[in-house]
Amino acid sequence: MAPKQNPVAQYFANIYQAVATTLLGMKLTIGYFFRKPVTMLYPEMRPVVQPGARGLHEFDEAKCIACKMCMTACPVDCLVIEFEGRGKDAFITRYDIDYQKCLFCQLCCDACPTEGIRMTGKWDLASYDRAGCLVRFARPKSTEEIRKFREDFARAEAEKKRKAAEAKAKAAAEAKPAAAPEPEKKSEG
């Protein structure tokens, strides 16, 4: 605490300080009055979004392998995937992110093994209604398309299965004479 002063001196010191500090402050503010503002005029000037900003997602359907890692990683379950088939050739019928729930935590992107889902610097999220917050990233497919893929996939699956069975039989046939101890390993892949 400041040393006790005699009240009269304190009285005048208070007045002096009040005037002096006020003037100092005013000197500072008038300095800024004549300087250029630091803000930007928004719609004309857009802020520079830094690389690596966590904004709206970007989804690359070609890369997606439908492993559902992003879905499991999401803390708020805002991500929904539906697909036909599996693996590299998976046919993504639905990849929705509900931005009403999204935390922009990037956990989905970190979890993705193929960088199929990434975050971009896009940050303009406004939409006129709630439906606008639900973004469908997958290319919309017609039922026709889906049915075709389903049939193709089933055929391919069957083909694969047949081939696998053949290979197995063949391997078994080859292995029998040699009595090799590795019958099933390779056939899966």
Binding site: M1, A2, N14, Q17, A18, A20, T21, T22, L24, G25, L28, T29, V38, V49, Q50, P51, G52, A53, R54, A73, C74, P75, L103, F104, C105, Q106, L107, M119
Partner: protein, 382 residues
């Protein structure tokens, strides 16, 4: 407490006490705090803080989602100090899992925690000025905070909720460009800090409004479990970074800012405010040292994809801008989420002192006191 009885010579002149609801929608309650004040004219006889308007079930959520998924939620506790929150939570998980994080990650965590402390204190400074009726410091504070936010955006991708410290390290390494930005900030900030002092700290009106107002005695502060600037403002030199050093705080040199009653009594609003101002400069020192001593290496330790912690419990605490933020986690080795997660939120404990301090003062003082305690409702209600 009973009403203050005063014998009145003329009973017809008796005045009535007024019960006023300050908030939850009020310009100076820092969010959705509701203060019920009992006033006799301009004199406030009693203040009751009512909370719970921003309750988002953090603890329950933290028990439902997996450990890495909790980290973005911790950002939303004290949303002005996301780096610090995540830092504390990650330490708790790492302690339970026995993860040793790389030194470079430790340094980066400290650098960004301290920068976030500056950003948070800048906002506290600005809003406090706003509470006391000065508008301009708020915008000046935001101007400098913007520089920090740009740095945070570069390093983490977010401007408010960074999700930067992760279990086992940090999300990304810093680039030379970011390091340069931080150095630039360290260079220009002291001058701006001096401007704040001219504009606000040493302004006579500001001193008159805050000095000798809302004095929290050291014993009161300890009894109520205050931490952070509120405790140090009362003259108790307790800082977790010094008392129980975590991360690399034992390797850096800095001072604990303590209120000394420079303008009035120890523990008044000005002291709490001043502790924050001094802490900004101390944080700057820490950042400078950490940046110079930043070791090379990876920034992320190997962490299992599906993290299961062994049976056990851990409590870690960190010095947040607002005080001690503690995470208490009980884990079960069969589960990927916590059995119990409890948060010791500094704002919550600090707010509890309001009832004790904000009484028998003026309405304007209540605003000054609540402002000087500097709460974030996101953390009070969780």
């Amino acid at each position: 407490m009973t009403a203050i009885e005063r014998p009145l010579p003329r009973p017809e002149l008796e005045t009535e006490e007024l019960l006023v609801n300050m908030g939850p929608q009020h310009p100076s309650t820092h969010g959705v705090l509701r203060l019920v004040i009992r006033t006799d004219g301009e004199m406030v006889r009693e203040t009751w803080p009512h909370i719970g308007y921003l309750h988002r079930c953090f603890e329950k959520i933290a028990q439902e989602v997996t450990f890495p998924q909790v980290v973005p939620y911790t950002d939303r506790l004290d949303y002005l100090a996301s780096m610090n929150n995540a830092h504390s939570y990650c330490m708790a998980v790492e302690r339970l899992a026995g993860i040793k994080i790389p030194p470079r990650a430790e340094y980066l965590r400290v650098i960004f925690s301290e920068l976030n402390r500056i950003a948070s204190h800048l906002l506290a400074f600005g809003t406090y000025a706003l509470d006391l009726g000065a508008f301009t410091p708020f915008l000046y504070g935001f101007r400098e905070r913007e520089l920090l936010l740009d740095i945070f955006e570069k390093v983490s991708g977010g401007r408010l909720l960074y999700h930067y410290p992760r279990i086992g390290g940090v999300a990304r390494d810093i680039t030379p460009e970011i390091a340069k930005d931080i150095e630039q900030f360290i260079r220009i900030f002291p001058q701006k800090w001096a401007e704040y002092n001219t504009l606000l700290s040493y302004n006579k009106i500001f001193i008159e409004r805050t000095a000798n107002v809302g004095v929290i005695l050291p014993q009161t502060a300890i009894r109520y479990g205050l931490t952070g600037p509120c405790l140090r403002g009362s003259g108790v030199a307790y800082d977790i970074r010094k008392a129980h050093p975590y991360s690399v705080y034992d390797k850096v040199d800095f001072q604990i800012a303590v209120g000394q009653g420079e303008k009035g009594t120890v523990g008044d609003c000005w002291d709490r405010y001043w502790v924050r101002m001094v802490e900004m400069m101390e944080s700057l020192k820490i950042v400078d040292q950490c940046l110079k001593g930043l070791p090379e290496g990876p920034v992320q330790a190997k962490v299992a994809r599906v993290l299961r912690l062994p049976d056990g419990e851990a409590y870690t605490r960190a010095e947040n801008p607002r005080g001690e933020l503690g995470f208490y986690i009980v884990s079960d080795k069969k589960r990927t989420n916590a059995v119990r997660c409890r948060v010791r939120a500094p704002s919550f404990c600090n707010l509890s002192v309001t009832h004790e301090v904000a009484k028998d003062c003026l309405v304007a003082d209540v605003v000054a006191i609540v402002g000087s305690i500097d709460i974030v409702l996101g953390e009070v209600d969780r």
